[in-house]
């Protein structure tokens, strides 16, 4: 399955978090690789799965329905971003 980059879900993340998250730097809970969300690998099927480009671990999952959104960030150890 082909993957996209984190910037392809910038709009989805912005609708959840209210700001551009593609510049946030996340640490992979598996291999501790650090990279901006914009550089993570995105797989889109019924939902959205974000994987670490280094170890393939699932970092985030997002599922959207007209009424609700589910966000799973278990794979991300920490994230940092400039103060607003």
């Amino acid at each position: 399955m082909v993957h996209l980059d984190g910037n392809s879900i910038g709009g989805v993340l912005q609708s959840v978090f209210g700001r551009d998250l593609t510049v946030a730097v996340g640490v992979c809970g598996g291999c501790r690789a650090e990279r901006p969300v914009g550089a993570m690998h995105v797989y889109r099927g019924a939902g959205i799965v974000v994987r670490c480009p280094d170890c393939d671990m699932v970092l985030m999952r997002v599922v959207e329905s007209p009424q609700r959104m589910w966000i799973d960030l278990q794979g991300v150890a920490t994230m940092q971003i400039d103060a607003d």
Partner: protein, 228 residues
């Protein structure tokens, strides 16, 4: 505005448009009469400061692009989210780092926003756009790119054709491979800022080759489209 037989630029009238940065995109959502919705992302082609414009390539089995390219007319309305993205952007911020832009097909769109910004801001930052197209007829913004390169202000545009090159063409006529990159890219020692945009397989191959040539992965920003 028709760019090629498969590609069209749409200038959007968005009330309250906050302005955008070069490289950002918008998410477009179309809703059919039966309520079915389809959403796609399109890079902004216009320079920051100009009204938002997207350039769309008609995909064979596309759900959104055939409508935008063939049917949308002045006055049509659709839902838009954006501008989005702070990762795949270039600001003319006075940095003297060379700028290397590598485009596969319609991956050139965000780079038009960047080169238009470069022109508007009077930047002389050394910039190379390596642009891979199937044929000459597929080159988007052909005349404008010729004009920008003819200013000789530090921007070079290098075309390569993968299916058919124009008669008398003495330039590259093959896929972007490691040898082509070695010849065209700024050397790693110059530590260029690199942006690669296009179909996923194109971006993967180019990014891997750049790293093999010695470029730092952290200096390479990628924007993959779906599909091959």
């Amino acid at each position: 505005m028709i760019e090629t037989s498969q590609v069209r630029t749409l200038i959007l009238d968005v009330s309250g448009w906050p302005g955008h940065r070069a490289g950002q995109h918008v998410d477009v959502r179309l809703t059919a009469e039966d309520g079915y919705q389809a959403e796609r992302s399109y890079s902004l082609a216009s320079a920051p400061g100009d009204p938002p414009a997207i350039t769309v390539e008609r995909l064979e089995n596309g759900e959104v692009s055939p409508y935008l390219v063939d049917e949308a007319v002045h006055g049509d309305r659709f839902e838009l989210r954006g501008p989005i993205g702070g990762y795949f952007v270039w600001d003319s911020d006075g940095s003297t780092d060379p700028l290397l832009l590598i485009a596969g097909g319609s991956g050139v769109v965000p780079f038009m926003s960047m080169t238009r910004l470069r022109r508007d801001s009077g930047s002389k930052v050394p910039t190379r756009l390596l642009y891979s197209s199937r044929t000459l007829g597929d080159v988007i913004y052909r005349d404008e790119l010729d004009d920008l390169a003819a200013r000789h202000d530090g921007l070079e545009v290098v075309h390569t054709f993968t299916r058919e090159s124009p008669p008398g063409w003495t330039g590259y006529s093959r896929r972007v491979d490691i040898d082509l990159l070695r010849e065209v890219a700024f050397p790693p020692q110059e530590d260029p800022r690199v942006y690669v945009c296009g179909p996923t397989s194109f971006v993967e191959a180019v990014a891997d080759n750049l790293v093999a040539l010695g470029h730092r992965p952290g200096r390479i920003r990628t924007e993959r489209f779906g599909g091959a």
